[in-house]
């Protein structure tokens, strides 16, 4: 089976030769091609070259478009800072106070260099690999993007104490998210992954989630013309699954490390892909034996789940992760299948 057949089988709940493997190796492509990060996160060709190397070297079943939430904030005017071995991070937000929201310039996704970079990278990857490997484009959710424009602190403060300003912010990010997601799908993305940390009751109150954030998410999702995968964004997602289980266009969920896949599956019933939930952020510190043991344990736990994809939780796989650790995850899926 090709990777796309394997992932499609998981979506449809049909048998496959082995469980698919999903590893967010967005940053890792820069390491494999020895590409300086300022070039990697601005030049779509350099990014696509890195992902070609990811496919050839690691052979995971999904290739990811650029994964860098602060860069999405930079399109609105936030300043970012580059590092040697980490994706760029937020340095200074675009907006300091609620009064500044009205002055925000919404980036034109067909003209602004940052959304163009994201889209061109996905288009190049889809053209080269899309027939055999699913391409996952990444778009920060409309309820999380304000944290990249304002900082998380200011965004929570706005949601708590200035609901009118929060509404104004969401009125900007909702259509922007819809435009980006649809542009990704048009460029050849198989699905759009959207990190949503703000849906977690560990981040904001359930009242705010229900009253303000869920309606925005629903309106956004129903306007997207293809499948979405909800990613935990590193926060607890399982408590939010009862709210999201029947949202339009959602094909799957990627829960956080430490959360229960069994509990998640119980909430989702026998539908929706479930991706998880190895600790991606620890892969640079573990050895092959430890990783294979964890993979085997996760695969055993999910052996009766036809919609399961073995993958890492959290953000990008760390830059210094040894290649053999990543190969061990795919090998664990292959070995586990032959042992059945």
């Amino acid at each position: 089976m090709t990777s796309i057949e394997r992932v499609l089988a998981a979506i449809q709940g049909k048998p496959a030769d082995r469980p698919p493997v999903s590893l967010p190796l967005s940053l890792y492509g820069a390491r494999l091609t020895n590409c300086p990060l300022p070039a990697y996160y601005t030049d779509a060709t350099a990014y696509a070259r890195g992902q070609r190397s990811v496919r050839e070297t690691i052979g995971a079943d999904i290739l990811f478009g650029p994964l860098c939430l602060p860069l999405e904030g930079a399109a609105f005017g936030s300043q970012i800072r580059y590092y040697d071995k980490q994706p760029p991070n937020l340095h200074r937000p675009a907006v300091a106070a609620a009064e500044d929201i009205a002055r925000l310039v919404v980036p034109d996704i067909d003209a602004h260099p940052i959304p163009l970079f994201f889209n061109d990278a996905v288009r190049l990857m889809a053209t080269e690999h899309g027939r055999e490997v699913p391409i996952a484009a990444i778009a920060t959710s409309p309820i999380d993007l304000p944290a990249m424009i304002l900082t998380l602190e200011k965004w929570i403060e706005m949601l708590l104490f200035n609901p009118q300003a929060a509404e104004a912010m969401l009125a900007i990010t909702l259509p922007y998210f819809v435009s980006r997601a649809n542009a990704f799908l048009k460029a050849g993305a198989t699905f759009v992954v959207t990190p949503i940390a703000l849906i977690s009751p560990r981040v904001v109150t359930s009242q705010i989630i229900k009253k303000t954030l869920l309606p925005v998410l629903r309106r956004a999702f129903e306007q997207v013309s293809g499948p979405l995968v909800v990613h935990s964004g590193g926060a607890a997602l399982v408590p939010a699954l009862p709210w999201l289980a029947n949202f339009p266009n959602v094909a799957g969920f990627a829960i956080s490390a430490g959360e229960s896949l069994t509990q998640a599956r119980k909430i989702l019933n026998n539908k929706s892909v479930l991706i998880g939930n190895l600790e991606g952020q620890r892969l640079d510190r573990e050895n092959v034996a430890q990783i294979k043991k964890k993979c085997a344990s996760t695969l055993r736990e999910q052996q009766n789940d036809p919609h399961f994809i073995l993958g890492t939780a959290g953000g990008d796989v760390p830059y210094d992760t040894p290649i053999e650790n990543l190969l061990a995850i795919r090998e664990a899926a292959e070995t586990y299948t032959t042992q059945l």
Binding site: Q86, N89, L160, F161, R202, T205, P239, Q281, G314
Partner: protein
């Protein structure tokens, strides 16, 4: 005052800032702000902190509201305390800041609020503070503890520079290093890796951790 503990806790658990402020203001009119803070808000914040650790429905936003309420009452306590009495209270200085390259201020600000409420003289240096600046400030104000925050792994590793700065200046015994931030919850082993002496699960727990560090302090002894 104890009769109102459940009521105030409910306001905090529903992030109802106005409800909590109105209750505290009403009681302060009878008992004064200081007594209301010590006898009601402080014990309720401890209960809230315990729920924050164990209850999956308590969010960062709830903590933010609790910090706002604490800040508000501290301002009022200060206002009702005579100037000479304020100067007479000896507080232990503590230096706080986000490590070099880290700009995630929320956790640090929450910790600062709850430390001030617990009686610490907090010197908050803000975001993106380099190692030397932390140590210079600690020496200048006589702080036995530096509290440093980082949200992500790429910035948390910069705390190693602060550890080296403290040790390099021969201050290992006189300045303790408390570390905190989301990454330390995900990777607890990082506390030791960056050279931290202690960490707290949440902002409300921070004063207790700092007190323990101070009590274990070889040059200070019990506070």
């Amino acid at each position: 005052m104890e009769n109102h503990q459940d009521e105030l806790l409910q306001f905090l658990l529903t992030a109802d800032q106005n409800g909590a402020k109105n209750l505290l203001a009403g009681l302060a009119r009878i008992h004064g702000y200081k007594k209301t803070m010590v006898s009601l808000l402080e014990p309720v914040l401890i209960m809230f902190g315990d729920r924050w650790v164990h209850d999956t429905d308590i969010s960062i936003a709830h903590g933010y509201v609790a910090a706002r309420i604490a800040e508000d009452i501290m301002i009022k306590v200060t206002a009702e305390t005579p100037q000479n009495a304020r100067q007479a209270v000896a507080k232990t200085p503590l230096v706080l800041g986000n490590i070099e390259d880290d700009y995630h201020a929320l956790g640090r600000k929450l910790v600062g609020t709850f430390l001030r409420m617990a009686g610490w003289d907090v010197h908050d240096l803000g975001n993106d503070v380099v190692a030397g600046e932390f140590v210079d400030k600690a020496l200048a104000v006589g702080a036995p503890i530096i509290g440093v925050s980082a949200m992500m792994h790429n910035t948390a590793v910069n705390i190693k520079k602060l550890r080296s700065e403290i040790d390099g200046r021969g201050l290992t015994d006189s300045i303790k290093l408390a570390v905190g931030g989301a990454i330390f919850k995900i990777r607890p082993e990082l506390v030791e890796e960056v050279g931290g002496d202690a960490t707290a699960t949440n902002a409300i727990e921070a004063p207790e951790i700092m007190k323990s560090l101070l009590n274990d302090h070889p040059l200070r002894g019990a506070q």
